[in-house]
Symmetry: C2
Subunit: 240 residues, 2 copies
Amino acid sequence: MSSSYSLYYWPTLPGRGEFVRLILEDVGAPYVDVARQPEGGVQAVLPFLQGRGPGHPAYAPPILRWDEHSLAQTPAICSYLAERHGLAPADPVARAQALQLMLTVMDVVNEAHDTHHPLGKNLYYEDQWEAAKENARNFVQDRLPKLMGYFERVIDRSGGPYLMGPEVTYPDLALFQLDAGLAYAFPRGYARATAATPKVRALAEQVAARPRIAAYLASPRRMAFNEDGIFRRYPELDPA
Amino acid sequence: MSSSYSLYYWPTLPGRGEFVRLILEDVGAPYVDVARQPEGGVQAVLPFLQGRGPGHPAYAPPILRWDEHSLAQTPAICSYLAERHGLAPADPVARAQALQLMLTVMDVVNEAHDTHHPLGKNLYYEDQWEAAKENARNFVQDRLPKLMGYFERVIDRSGGPYLMGPEVTYPDLALFQLDAGLAYAFPRGYARATAATPKVRALAEQVAARPRIAAYLASPRRMAFNEDGIFRRYPELDPA
């Protein structure tokens, strides 16, 4: 039941790889974070993108390998791991609803990324910061309150404390990471948006207190957010 | 095995609802396209968004209902339907790889949408067309060749003619719709980008020729692309 997993992700930012790491850590699955090993680095990731790795070619990291398998796309990796290791419901409909929630978390992650890259993922921030200011203003003022209000409503409807009720599922781990990232990138705007969503904050705190997650967060394996990642603290994108 | 499904989606554009319709049509599942019924309309969709519908609240349509269930998020709906009705592999790893492919198709759909809404999903196109021009230029020149080249490589690796080999799976239906949408929105840029991806075009043609899909495409149920949808033909975003 417990293969050893190999995770391939950019070594210098938490990014989308972190959503996979949180599941691996929470279920106690053995894994190697390949590009963060001394002999790893970006070189370890590139062959997969260029179609020279095994399995279905990946368009982008994170990529998970185990046995003879290879899998990409954060929600696909997370749902697969969660279903295999007990962090997803067994019922097919509830399983699809867990995926629905995971995908909605990742939609917010993508929108948060696009605040600093509104004109093109292939351009530098410095070449699009003016458009970024406008995108970020919309995101923080209009989108964040609606999106976090949605998760609050989901917790409310399920009875909580988690998105799907009394039991933790993998979208809760993703919502914890989203919450941490937004609080890092938009400390002012996010505090305003979440003043009305106490259940989201309580959920994030409960996830952080899970024993294996708490141990992980205190370990050197947990990377700090930085300005190469998805969640970037650019003060001009988070006005008072 | 065949419940009657109810699809809730904006009635005047194909949008993300179309990815769900293609699966329902291909498997021959009975369904009602609620907002397109005479008594439907946008009014039929709104209660779900406001958390007054049953099941997990949805953040956005499409929403699928059947029996006492409710499910949102295009890839979650599509993977659920495909797994239930024989358009997904049975093996858990292959099932996750099908989801990987579906998510990559939807990433391109999202990027195509963002070409005309680079500054904010809540703003009008007319208020962001200059940024849209720059986003679209990047998308057509840089992103499209890479993304379509990726799908070409996947078909090549699987042996084709479909993404996962000889058998059609639900990401093939989504790739067909993406191909149709890109050809509509960016007739010049997409022709350039796909000159090097004949297997993607052949796949789209094979999907279109499937008997139930062909009948659907010829029926009034198939909506034309238009400038309220994801794929919009704005000539200024598709220069020669």
